[in-house]
């Protein structure tokens, strides 16, 4: 058999089998314990909602991956970049701009931010250990939080760019009550998919994308063949800023634009770890697994212990995966030499 076909077959067949196995497991558990509840229709509904939610996590995680890939920096400020971008966008809309125009202007602001970060933070800290750069991004996190709120105020702001909020029921003939699908989540998933596709094409087929991958592989080798590291960093941070803007629009129109948006970075961490810090598809697949896993666990296992387990469950899930693949699902294999 062709190994590629084999691999493809594995990736197509494994997820549904796994889901079915989990479903039967939960069904058995529910039969044994009266506190639990299980029907296949509801299970699929929760699963679907979780998968769509996972795309929203992945949107945030993507920003982390971009920066980590190109510069090896774990950018703690990604969450506050999401907040800052959303605040700026809403601010410009409030000035009377149409949201598309405001989007473009905000994207410009994010590019500007990337240039400042490169100049003030990254360049002086070049060649420092990762943990120092990580700490520096925490400094950026605090600065942006204060700066964004100082500019635009800390009250809740509405963001409505006309994404549908309708819900529909599908498969009503198959399951009792049908399966509820949230229109907004579908749109968000679509946006996420498009974004990943665009980024993948950008990385794979453009000149800049190739340069980015070269930098990710080896800074010094990239420098020696004439790739300008500083420019690359600015580009990467700009792209991460625009991804943050998209994430900010999605999350902001869900919950209003406010300070708490900066905290969603925490939801992206397990996704990131599960998918691998360096893989764009990893962020998506990780998001899907974490999203579906934590929702299913909360709904079907939560009642056993009193609920609110989804927070740590995401991390436990990531941890279990890591024990088998220490570099994450799609991360680059870690090779250590003395």
């Amino acid at each position: 058999m062709n190994p590629i076909a084999l691999r493809f077959g594995f990736w197509v067949l494994a997820p549904p089998l796994l889901i079915a196995a989990i479903g039967f497991g939960l069904q058995g558990l529910a039969a044994a314990n009266s506190a639990l509840f299980f029907t296949w229709g509801f299970f699929l509904e929760v699963l679907l909602a979780g998968l769509l939610q996972g795309v929203l996590y992945a949107l945030v995680a993507l920003g982390f991956v971009l920066i980590f890939k190109a510069s090896g920096i774990f950018n703690f400020a990604q969450g506050s970049m999401v907040l800052f971008a959303a605040l700026t966008l809403v601010g410009f809309i409030g000035m009377g701009l149409h949201w598309t125009l405001a989007f473009i202007v905000t994207a410009g602001v994010m590019v500007l931010l990337a240039m400042v970060v490169e100049k003030v933070v990254l360049r002086p800290l070049v060649n420092q250990p990762h943990i120092i750069l990580f700490m520096a991004t925490i400094g950026i996190f605090y600065f942006l939080d204060g700066f964004g709120q100082m500019l635009w105020g800390s009250d809740v702001k509405m963001l409505d760019i006309g994404i549908t909020k309708e819900t529909t029921f599908i498969l009503e003939g198959v399951f009792e009550g049908g399966i509820l699908v949230n229109g907004f989540d579908l749109v968000a998933a679509l946006v996420g998919a498009v974004l990943v596709a665009v980024l993948a094409v950008f990385f794979q087929y453009t000149r800049v994308g190739r340069a980015l991958r070269a930098v990710a592989d080896d800074h010094q080798a990239a420098l020696s063949v004439g790739i300008p590291l500083k420019t690359i960093w600015v580009i990467v941070w700009s792209v991460a800023g625009i991804v943050a803007l998209v994430a900010g629009i999605m999350w902001g129109s869900k919950a209003g634009v406010q300070f708490s948006l900066a905290l969603i970075a925490l939801k992206a961490l397990p996704v990131l770890i599960l998918g691998g810090f360096t893989s764009i598809p990893g962020a998506i697949v990780g998001g899907l697994i974490i999203g579906a896993g934590e929702q299913v666990a909360e709904v079907f296992l939560g009642p056993l212990v009193g609920g609110a387990i989804q927070e740590w469950f995401a991390y436990m899930l990531a941890l279990i995966f890591l024990l088998f693949r220490p570099q994450g699902l799609f991360g680059e294999r870690i090779i250590e030499r003395i």
């Binding site: 709120q149 800390s154 809740v156 819900t167 919950a255 209003g256 300070f259 609920g307 609110a308």
Partner: protein, 439 residues
């Protein structure tokens, strides 16, 4: 900052202030000091800002309109706690000695900070008003002489909600299902014992759904509520972003808003407006009226904002939480007035203020006299009862504003009181406190 509590120290502080600041108010030494633990930053700032503005503006209005309270001006100083317990403690310690007089009364505006301050304030002989938050059992004034829970505790709120639901269901709750969506922390857990007790008494099924802080993630919760448990009524103890997210997610699973009631901290414009049209019909509890149709509120516009209503609106005038800030200020100032009747119109100590709160009575006539007719129900405190017998009502969001949707509901305190006392007794035992006698 080590000044002992006596007039000399107060005078010395005043002299210090006078020398350090050139443009000092000649009456500064006659000012009563009100510290403000507010939050205008952090994750809960959107809710903290209107409250802080209401509190500040009412005090400023009194200074402008009446020259203070019986000739004693109010000196108000704020510190930003960011709704964070350690910062709250730091703010308390900082503000404690930073005013021209002893702090009149503390309003921590956070259940967590209230918990952290109870012992400190008791040791410092400084009264705390935890208005509609904090420890419910602090209503027992024998164990908590310095803590006040007027006009209603969370337990009373839960009781009032169930009374309303029972009324709506035609007086019978047996066989009904009621869900509680709560913030998974000290604040959200407060109503659970009361609801569990009521579920036994009234025969309804009760189930709690915790939401982890800060509450952006409620998909699983609402799938369980809307698609599986399908309760007849859902109650909510949420705060900040959790509220608007809950309303959105509830709408997404098609849960009827008319059957969804939030506690008073889950019922402001901030909570419904981000949810848009989906929030229309959502209900919440309240213990004071929303809106600006009160002479006292109009006085704020006239005195503080020089009649500029647009600017006042920018400062959240008439917002539910703004009015709650006003309510909090009213209670504090009325306590000061009460204490002045006993001790004379002068700057009061914390201990004297404590007496004032404990003997506070605001009748319907008094509310009217203050220009706040119908703003809140009468309350009367005593040495034992630090809650004051306040009542609440249900308000409903009609898409544009909050409308009052029920009569005043008086929580069933004959049932609640033993629970307060039992819980307070356990606290006293753990802490080695001998409850004082009230005669």
């Amino acid at each position: 900052m080590m000044f002992k509590r006596n007039g000399l120290a107060a005078a010395a502080t005043a002299v210090l202030l006078a020398t350090s600041l050139a443009a000092v108010d000649a009456r500064a030494q006659e000012a009563q000091y009100f510290p403000g633990l507010q939050y205008r930053s952090g994750p809960f700032a959107p809710s903290g800002i209107p409250f802080a503005n209401g509190f500040r503006d009412y005090l400023a209005m009194l200074n402008e309109r009446d020259g203070g309270v019986n000739g004693i001006r109010i000196h108000y100083e704020e510190c930003d706690t960011a709704y964070n317990n350690d910062r709250g403690v730091e703010c308390y310690e900082r503000l404690k000695g930073a005013g021209p007089s002893e702090p009149a009364v503390w309003n921590p505006l956070s259940t967590g900070i209230t918990y952290a301050l109870i012992e400190r304030a008791t040791a410092d002989k400084a009264p705390i008003i935890s208005m509609g938050y904090g420890r419910a059992d602090a209503s027992d004034g024998r164990v908590f002489p310095y803590v006040f829970t007027l006009p209603a505790t969370y337990w009373a709120g839960a009781d009032a909600m169930i009374q309303y639901v029972k009324d709506q269901e035609g007086g019978d709750l047996s066989g009904k299902k009621i869900a509680l969506v709560y913030f998974d922390g000290a604040y959200g857990k407060e109503p659970i014992p009361t609801l569990e007790r009521l579920s036994k008494e009234e025969g309804f099924t009760f189930r709690g759904f915790p939401v982890a802080s800060p509450g952006l993630e409620q998909k699983a919760t609402w799938l369980q509520i809307g698609r599986q448990f399908r309760p007849d009524w859902t109650l909510m103890w949420g705060w900040g972003v959790m509220n608007s997210t809950a309303i959105k997610e509830a709408a997404a699973v098609g849960y009827p808003m008319e059957k969804f009631i939030g506690i008073w901290w889950s019922g402001s414009e901030n909570d419904v407006m981000p949810a848009g049209d989906a929030a229309t019909g959502y209900k919440s509890l309240g213990f004071h009226a929303p809106g600006t149709d009160f002479p006292a509120i109009q006085d704020i516009v006239a005195q503080v904002y020089d009649g500029d209503e647009a600017r006042a609106k920018e400062n959240n005038l008439g917002h539910v939480l703004y009015n709650r800030g006003v309510m909090n200020a009213v209670l504090s100032v009325e306590a000061m007035r009460t204490a002045q009747e006993e001790y004379g119109a002068r700057v009061l100590t914390g201990e004297e203020m404590r007496w004032g709160i404990e003997n506070l009575e605001i009748t319907a006539e008094r509310w009217k006299e203050m220009g706040l007719e119908g703003f809140a129900n009468p309350i009367k405190l005593s040495c034992e009862d630090h809650e004051g017998g306040g009542s609440a009502f249900i308000q409903q969001w009609d898409g544009d504003s909050w409308e009052i949707a029920s009569d005043w509901i008086l929580p069933n305190r004959t049932e609640l009181r033993p629970a307060y006392e039992a819980s307070a007794a356990q606290y006293a035992k753990e802490k080695g406190i001998t409850p004082r006698e009230c005669n």
